[in-house]
């Protein structure tokens, strides 16, 4: 406790070792938004001490739950992965130093960094995350605790491959620490389940469903699911017996696993529901794109639009005919059968203790705003005549483009309305830049090329999302497509195997990266024992997924360092095989021979000397390629 000797009242001066730099003009992120300043890379190009200073100073501003600050700090961490240990030290020191009321945002930062920049940060945080989490958990109030539990649940599948963010050990240790032994589902169904644990998993599930519902507000099935979850929540809050609790928990986990399995990578081994395999306890929807999970984040200035007008607890009989998701319905039916829920569906205490919904904005606030804008713009009289269009009314355009849109993205200059929906768009916009920057840093060194124009059908039906302007970049380049690619790549990796050397069948070996045992399996067709999801490099067997991830991050790190160090920022042309281990059907164009003779070409009048790389493609003379033409029918880039 002595660590936290600063009373919360003195928030302004809790012990910073370093003085605030005088000219660092970005204080006071208060209610309004100010974009995180562009990372001034040149300042600490080669000076860890300077970086530490900058990072801890900016960290000190994280006194409230502010998404822009968290985003700015995680972007900075992402850009400076070589200082990952400094970032980790700063964050740990910060969390230990600040008063309990301010700890949650700092944990959100830790969460954001480790999910979005998994390598190397997850490994940096692992050594201290367990004690830090548990100590913090002890200090904070109940509200914060439930937020922390919610976050902890996302850690179960927080790693890029859908595993525990900090490894199974720390995950279990934390869960045990806060929920007792029951927290670890892998330890068997005989252990105790605490109501708290079930409540947090329920909260988590409810939150997840609500978020999904936001994107599909008219999904009746989803609304029903949500109602049932709320019902269960009320039930648990009212108090149920231990076996019932366990049953609810198991059903809930099965349900969440099923509902996530559409978007999650398929589990390696499907095991019967009750104790789910630890790595898939609560798979989260969209595990590929961790950033978008971060709806945990501060929304207090701009509350979520209400997913539904009100959560009404309806009798189950009314819900059943609506035939929503069979999972939720069967779950409820099972519970009814087993007597956990009474057949009229109204649990004891329902309504009295269900989650308190924060009074939210009306869902059509966007409409209201655009209506207000419409009325204001229509108040002016501008005639489309030759004489009237040259009459000066310049205040109108200034008001329209600048004055009513005073928040500006510091990266691209786009402006956003000074209104709740404008702020929301800004957040979405910053998320977009974040993803773009991450992609850019991952893609350095790869050869790029102009895409083919999209087909007429795609052009006609692709409508750029009017509200999140500029977020969508068409069907082929969309996030969905990228996520699908990622899933496919993961599947391909998981399908890889290494044949177990004769005699070694009984030997258990561990992946040097994740330290987990490789699973062996007998292949009927080949009559051989193999390690699944495995790849052999220099006589060491790794998980194919771990190896690919490590290779990819090493490449980006190296190329980034090269790029940072040379002032000319020359592009290193890395062979494209990096991080993409030979998959059997990666491309129908595998006959292309890469030839890295840089054909320097110069066009007169062109601004600079151009050193483009030309890739030579040679095709076999027999029309072997022709047979593979079909899959290319719709080439849309």
């Amino acid at each position: 406790m002595s660590v936290y000797n600063q009373p919360p009242a003195q928030q302004h001066h809790y012990g910073y070792r370093q003085p605030m730099p005088p000219a660092h003009g970005h204080h006071g992120y208060g209610g309004g938004y100010r974009a995180p300043p562009p990372p001034a890379q040149h300042v600490y190009q080669s000076d860890p001490a300077a970086f530490r200073h900058v990072y801890s100073t900016r960290l000190a501003e994280l006194t409230m739950n502010s998404r822009p600050i968290i985003q700015g700090l995680s972007m900075l961490a992402q850009e400076q992965t070589r200082y990952s240990s400094i970032v980790a030290q700063c964050i740990e020191a910060h969390i230990r130093r600040i008063p309990p009321t301010m700890k949650l945002p700092a944990f959100y930062l830790l969460d954001a960094i480790s999910k979005n920049v998994y390598v190397p940060y997850a490994a940096e945080f692992t050594p201290f995350v367990v004690p830090l989490f548990l100590e913090t958990y002890d200090l904070v109030d109940n509200n914060t605790r439930s937020k922390m539990e919610e976050m902890l649940l996302t850690w179960r599948t927080g790693s890029p491959v859908g595993k525990e963010l900090f490894g199974i050990g720390p995950q279990v240790a934390i869960e045990r620490g806060i929920w007792g032994d029951g927290g670890n589902a892998a330890s068997g169904s005989s252990s105790r389940v605490t109501p708290n644990q079930v409540m947090s998993e329920l909260d988590f599930a409810i939150g997840q469903q609500e978020r999904t519902l936001q994107s599909r507000p008219h999904d009746v099935a989803m609304q029903n699911n949500l109602a049932i979850l709320h019902q269960l929540h009320a039930l648990v809050a009212a108090g149920v017996s231990q076996p019932e609790l366990k049953q609810i928990l198991n059903q809930l986990r099965t349900l969440m696993r099923n509902s996530a399995s559409t978007s999650a990578p398929p589990p390696i081994a499907a095991s019967p529901p009750p104790p789910p395999p630890p790595q898939h306890q609560a798979p989260y929807a969209q595990p590929q794109n961790h950033y978008w999970k971060q709806d945990l984040y501060p929304q207090q200035q701009i509350p979520h639009p209400a997913p539904m007008p009100a959560v009404k607890i309806e009798p189950a009989s009314a819900l059943l005919p609506a035939a929503g998701s069979p999972d939720i319905l069967s779950m409820l039916t099972n519970l009814v059968k087993s007597g956990v829920v009474s057949s009229n569906g109204t649990p004891i205490g329902a309504g009295s203790s269900s989650v308190q919904e924060i009074p939210d904005e009306k869902p059509d606030s966007d409409r209201l705003e655009s209506r207000a804008y419409r009325d204001s713009i229509l108040r002016h009289s501008v005639a489309l005549t030759t004489s009237d269009v040259t009459r000066p009314r310049n205040h109108l355009i200034i008001e329209c483009l600048y004055d009513t849109q005073s928040t500006q993205c510091k990266q691209c200059g786009q402006r956003f309305a000074d209104s709740p929906s404008g702020q929301k768009k800004l957040e979405k916009h910053l998320d977009m830049h974040f993803v773009q920057n991450r992609q850019a840093s991952q893609q350095t060194g790869r050869g790029h090329h102009r895409g083919w124009f999209i087909s007429l059908d795609d052009w006609i039906n692709d409508t750029v999302d009017v509200k999140g302007k500029g977020v969508d970049r068409g069907p082929a380049r969309g996030r969905a497509a990228e996520a699908a690619d990622q899933v496919k790549r993961n599947e391909e990796l998981r399908a890889m195997f290494v044949v177990v050397p004769p005699g070694d069948e009984a030997k258990s070996i561990r992946c040097p990266i994740c330290k987990e045992t490789l699973k062996s399996e007998f292949l009927e067709d080949d009559e051989e024992w193999v390690w699944k999801n495995a790849v052999k490099k220099d006589d060491t067997v790794y998980h194919a997924t771990c190896h690919s991830e490590a290779a990819a991050s090493a490449t980006t790190l190296v190329t980034r360092l090269i790029a940072d160090d040379s002032s000319s920022r020359s592009r290193s042309v890395t062979p494209e095989t990096n991080g993409r281990i030979a998959s059997p059907r990666s491309s129908p164009l595998k006959n292309i021979k890469s030839e890295s003779s840089s054909a320097a070409t110069l066009v007169p009048g062109s601004p600079s000397s151009l050193a483009g790389m030309k890739r030579k493609a040679e095709y076999d003379e027999d029309g072997a390629i022709r047979a593979e033409e079909a899959p290319l029918k719709k080439v849309a880039v």
Binding site: A383, L384, I398, Q443, V464, A563, P607, R626
Partner: protein, 499 residues
């Protein structure tokens, strides 16, 4: 000696601060090989309606000719030595664009309200409740493209987040593709103008981009020539095809329709020799019909304005707007250089190497993008003659139908596709720019027709870089790898050679 040089270089990159009063602009022109860095120190500044970010180094090169305009006043720091630079307060066109934007904004919100069934308040606004579908006409060097850009950029900057469709019918400009193309693209964020080879932003590539207008998704049709008169029947047809597709897009998403359309045109629509008058009016008619134009803007051309008022005044609004004093007269070789640069940019991307002596910070941007990842790698493929079918539309040296004796008909019309035999010497394929066509939609074979190649969209442009007649092979430069077997391409009259 080297000392002396260094001094000169340093002087060239000595930053200079310009204070601009409200509603004035700083105009600059760059010669080949020059570059310029502009930093906004204070205030708001925009280039053709795209706002510059305060504090960032904005780099311009590639013979860029542009103006930094400010509504409220600003200070900018300029590094580099342009061939021409001056400030001007004769910015009446900007006032006109601002008013037009307000009027178009009114049309958009009314159109959206109409669509959503909301009541439209009574007010002084007299515009229709149709979305603005604007045709911009004007003679050579009158600033048509700049006007289109400002109007589209302002719409994209609106808090309503409109995504207007920008259409380019000027085959000499080529839009986001290459010269000879007729294109349309939805624009979600302001188009930047870092160089003359990317006047309308860039088509999407696999390189990461920050600004959506550097990753545009255009719909492209092939006309194949830079000269409007060369085959005006084909141009007419291509414009109508593009218009139909834009219409289909709006049909598919009615809310997108309210953002509207802005159509840029070649100067040859507006003015030319007397004997081309009927062709010009036919092509304008094609645009008006195809894009369901409801506003025609005529830039600084009184005669054309009267003509348009007479022809269309009863069915749509014709507005004359002033010509900007900043418009640059272009020398004849300029267009050729730009054509070369555009093709190079299409295949190899835009690469910018700062000259020695120019120090750029890490936040420097070129058209909104970081300077590092601008280079693209095209693919070069050898294909057999029989794999890729290359057509041309009409005969190469064709007298116009009107020149034939009365009553005579032609065996080969201007619109007839003719298959080119690459094995014949003099096929003219070497260095030709080809438009690779989309595959026809799957469907009933009976729906296929002879002139189908005229109506298919373009998926990309290719250049024949070598022909080997004995081995019946040709080498093709393409933006990305592609299997060409069974594909169809069209050859126009545009040629390009890597130099």
């Amino acid at each position: 000696m080297s000392d002396h040089m260094d001094v000169a270089d340093d002087a060239a990159f000595e930053p200079k601060v310009w204070d601009l009063g409200p509603e004035t602009e700083y105009r600059f022109e760059l010669d080949p090989g020059m570059c310029l860095v502009i930093v906004v120190l204070r205030g708001n500044a925009e280039i053709f309606g795209a706002e510059l970010v305060e504090g960032k180094q904005h780099v311009f090169a590639g013979e860029c000719k542009a103006a930094v305009y400010t509504w409220k006043g600003c200070s900018i720091e300029v590094t580099g030595r342009p061939s021409t630079e001056y400030t001007s307060d004769e910015t009446l066109p900007m006032t006109a664009y601002a008013n037009l934007h307000i009027a178009f904004e009114q049309m958009r919100v009314k159109a959206l309200a109409h669509l959503r069934g909301s009541p439209i308040p009574d007010g002084p606004s007299r515009v229709t409740s149709e979305s603005p579908r604007v045709l911009v006409l004007g003679p050579e060097n009158s600033g048509k493209t700049s006007a289109c850009k400002v109007l589209v950029n302002y719409a994209a900057r609106s808090r309503m987040g409109w995504v207007p469709v920008l259409v380019n019918t000027d085959p000499r400009e080529g839009g986001w593709a290459v010269p000879g193309a007729i294109t349309a693209a939805p624009v979600a964020a302001p188009i930047t103008t870092p160089s003359a080879s990317l006047p309308l932003g860039a088509a999407a590539s696999s390189a990461p981009t920050i600004n959506p207008s550097n990753a545009l998704l255009p719909l492209v049709y092939c006309y194949g020539h830079t000269d409007v008169q060369r085959n005006h029947l084909l141009l007419d047809r291509v414009i109508r095809n593009l218009g139909a597709s834009v219409g289909d897009r709006f049909e598919a998403n009615p809310e997108a329709r309210s953002s509207g359309v802005v159509v840029d045109t070649p100067s040859t629509f507006a003015a030319g020799p007397a004997n081309t008058a009927s062709v010009r009016s036919k092509l304008i008619r094609a645009c008006v019909d195809a894009f369901k134009i409801n506003v025609i803007l005529v830039i600084g051309h009184e005669k054309l304005n009267i003509e348009m008022q007479r022809t269309y005044g009863s069915q749509l609004t014709v507005v004359k707007i002033p010509k900007s004093g900043g418009v640059v007269e272009l020398d004849p070789s300029y267009r050729d250089r730009i054509l070369n640069m555009q093709l190079h940019t299409y295949f190899y991307g835009e690469s910018f190497t700062p000259p020695p002596g120019l120090k750029l910070r890490s936040n420097a941007v070129y058209g909104g993008e970081a300077l590092s990842d601008l280079v693209l790698s095209p693919a070069s493929t050898t294909v057999g003659f029989e794999e890729l079918a290359v057509w041309q539309i009409g005969e190469k040296s064709l007298a116009p139908s009107s020149a034939l004796p009365v009553g005579a008909t032609r065996t080969v019309s201007e619109m007839q596709p003719i298959l080119i035999d690459p094995s014949k010497p003099g096929s003219g394929l070497l260095n030709a720019v080809l438009a690779l066509l989309a595959l026809p939609a799957d469907g009933d074979e009976r729906e296929r027709y002879d002139e189908e190649v005229l109506d298919l969209g373009v998926v990309g442009f290719l250049v024949v870089t070598a022909i080997d007649i004995p081995r019946r092979k040709m080498t093709i430069l393409s933006p990305s790898p592609m299997v060409f077997a069974g594909r169809t391409a069209i050859r126009g009259s545009v040629e390009w050679q890597e130099q």
